[in-house]
């Protein structure tokens, strides 16, 4: 277990290092016009050079990269080019919004995905199974921005028009300020992000549980005379969840994209929107900070997921 952990952490650090190099390389290959933009309309070559020098962009590339890594290791991600705000403060501001969005959506999709999948698998070929299969196929084929737009039109605009202003069109209310409004403002974004995933997990859980229920040890469990509910939940579902957890690990990486889209549709100033703004402004310190944070989160989550295997399925030994 310890050896496994050390190996995975080392691998994760290697991946993070590769990503930091890739982000830097990409930006220095590009013809950067940050200094020209900052120097304003009436910029002379001298003032552009002065700005370039102030930002440290005239230093050798390896030196810029080296000082970035050195400072990052001390928890300092530098300043944004345009407003002189520290990158860590931008992240601190945006992170709670993105975390609220992601965690809420993940809870929703795991719960509904696994619950619906179990119903589908236990009552195969019933009306409920068929309805859930059609439901999950439709939402599996629907990109999250389309779900978001449709929700905005029907659940916000149409309902509000008819005098039932249940859902705001977006924005964010901090959890600490008002938990009820926090949930109310996030419910549509949560659904947009979770529906597609819930659909995928329904299908995955269904097929995985169906396969497990055909195993010999399920027959053994049944022949011991324990209740069917216990057979399904304790013996079946436990093993059936392994592929679901694998998929969850992969999806966490893909979630970065989903967050970007949902934050755009519902105007939430989270990390996704901040990175979109930073990209358009070629604001390298902000981009590097957010990309590295995202990659680190995905890496850590994947290690946790691998450790979860061993808990869920005693047949798996980590080595």
């Amino acid at each position: 277990m310890l050896r496994f952990l050390i190996r995975r952490v080392l691998q994760g650090i290697f991946v993070l290092w590769m990503i930091s190099v890739a982000v830097f390389a990409l930006f220095f290959i590009a013809p950067s016009d940050v200094a020209r933009r900052l120097a304003g309309r009436q910029a002379t070559p001298e003032s552009i050079a002065a700005v370039t020098h102030r930002l440290g962009l005239d230093r050798p590339k390896y030196e810029q990269y080296g000082s970035f890594v050195w400072r990052a290791l001390h928890g300092d991600l530098g300043y944004d080019y345009y407003h002189g705000v520290t990158v860590t403060s931008i992240i601190k501001e945006a992170l709670p919004k993105t975390l609220s969005l992601v965690l809420g959506a993940a809870v929703l999709w795991l719960f509904f995905g696994i619950f619906n999948g179990v119903i589908s698998a236990v009552k195969t070929r019933s009306i409920a199974d068929r309805a859930l299969t059609v439901f999950s196929l439709v939402f599996y084929s629907m990109p999250s921005f389309l779900i978001g737009l449709l929700l905005l039109y029907f659940a916000y605009y149409k309902l509000t028009l008819s005098g039932r202003a249940w859902f705001p069109p977006g924005g964010y209310v901090p959890l600490t300020q008002d938990p009820a409004h926090w949930a109310q403002s996030l419910i549509l974004p949560w659904i947009s992000l979770a529906l597609l995933q819930a659909a995928a997990y329904t299908r995955l859980t269904r097929s995985s549980l169906l396969e497990v229920m055909g195993e010999d040890y399920i027959r053994t469990a049944r022949s011991k005379g324990i209740s069917e509910r216990r057979v399904v939940v304790r013996h079946g579902l436990r093993a059936a969840l392994t592929p679901v957890i694998t998929q969850f690990g992969i999806d966490l990486g893909a979630l970065v994209g989903g967050v970007l889209i949902v934050e755009t549709v519902f105007s939430i100033d989270g990390l996704g929107r901040e990175s979109l703004i930073a990209f358009n402004a070629q604001d390298l310190p902000v981009i590097a900070g957010i990309v590295l944070l995202g990659a680190a989160a995905v890496t850590v989550a994947n290690i946790l997921v691998d450790m979860l295997y061993a808990v869920l399925d005693p047949r798996i030994r980590l080595s």
Partner: protein, 315 residues
């Protein structure tokens, strides 16, 4: 029947004859799969729908000619209300107009072209790259194999969208970039499956027989291994196409796909955000086109997978 066969060949980049393995009935796995597919009513229905979508994409210029509205023409007077809002569906504009007074119907037809071209070309690239690397890694093993496995790990943990953002910020959005980026970030799925299959196939007697006859590595990979990994690859391919349709739409929605004013479904939906309160048709019609396409490909993918790879998990 010939239509189905045509479709299947289109899904599969290398039209190499499948080695017929002797079974009691004398039918190859390929023939069995095709027979299973032909018996599946859902496969036939979705194939008809996909055929119609392809037809609409091919006939886009004809639709433009018929309505008299080129895809990027802005009808400021007839296409917009006096307040400058999109016109609802009606006599002149069947599906209404967008916020610049362009014909939504014509733009949906042109958007189908982008959607299909991007998803199909990316799929061919992805599968070719994935199969080539997967077979090589599985067959040679050793260093090639461990390098591949590390690359797969790397790509899987890379925040894809952020990378695309960075690339687009540098070189500007374009169709070619879109296709390359999609292929670059998805070949690893194919490579992993093919590598796994190749690893077990390599131990089989027919590979040993080919080796002892003096066959070259290349011949073994092409004539002995490739036909045997095709079934899972076809099953995987059929699910990559709808995934790429969604990916194209998503990237275009974010302004990272094919640049405006080219009509794309994702781009149209992105424009519709501004006027969704006044113009439901501008959200619903492109959204329906996108949904029907991905749904049809997903359903076909399920049928193809059931036919070619009956034991595979449904995702």
């Amino acid at each position: 029947m010939s239509q189905i066969t045509g479709q299947m060949e289109a899904l599969e980049p290398d039209p190499i004859d499948v080695v017929v393995s002797k079974t009691i009935e004398g039918r190859s796995p390929w023939q069995l799969s095709m027979a299973r597919l032909r018996r599946d009513p859902m496969a036939i229905i979705t194939l008809v729908v996909i055929f119609l979508i392809i037809l609409i994409a091919l006939c886009a210029p004809l639709i433009a000619k018929f309505t008299g509205h080129p895809p990027n023409m802005q009808y400021r007077t007839t296409g917009l209300t006096p307040e400058g809002l999109p016109r609802p569906p009606g006599g002149e504009f069947w599906f209404g107009t967008d916020n610049l007074g362009r014909d939504v119907l014509v733009r949906i037809a042109y958007g189908a072209r982008i959607s299909l071209v991007v998803s199909l070309v990316s799929t061919v690239l992805t599968v070719t790259l994935g199969v080539a690397v997967g077979i090589a890694a599985g067959y040679y093993g050793g260093i090639i194999d461990s390098v591949l496995s590390r690359m797969v790990d790397f790509v899987l943990s890379f925040p894809f969208i952020l990378f695309v953002l960075a690339l687009v910020a540098i070189s500007g959005p374009s169709l070619v970039l879109l296709v390359i980026v999609i292929a670059l970030f998805n070949w690893t799925y194919v490579a992993r499956v093919v590598r796994g299959q190749t690893l077990s196939l390599r131990q089989r007697e027919f590979v040993e027989a080919a080796l002892s006859l003096g066959a070259s590595d290349r011949r073994i990979m092409f004539y002995d291994l490739l036909p045997n990994v095709l079934a899972p690859v076809i099953a995987l391919t059929s699910l990559l196409i709808p995934l790429f349709v969604v990916l194209e739409a998503t990237l275009s929605f974010l302004g990272l796909g094919v640049p405006a004013p080219t009509a794309t479904w994702g781009g149209m939906l992105s424009d519709s955000v501004v006027t969704y309160r006044q113009a439901w048709w501008f959200v619903v019609f492109p959204g329906a086109a996108l949904l029907i396409t991905t749904l049809a490909f997903n359903l076909l993918g399920d049928s193809v997978r059931d036919a070619f790879d009956p034991r595979a998990d449904r995702l």
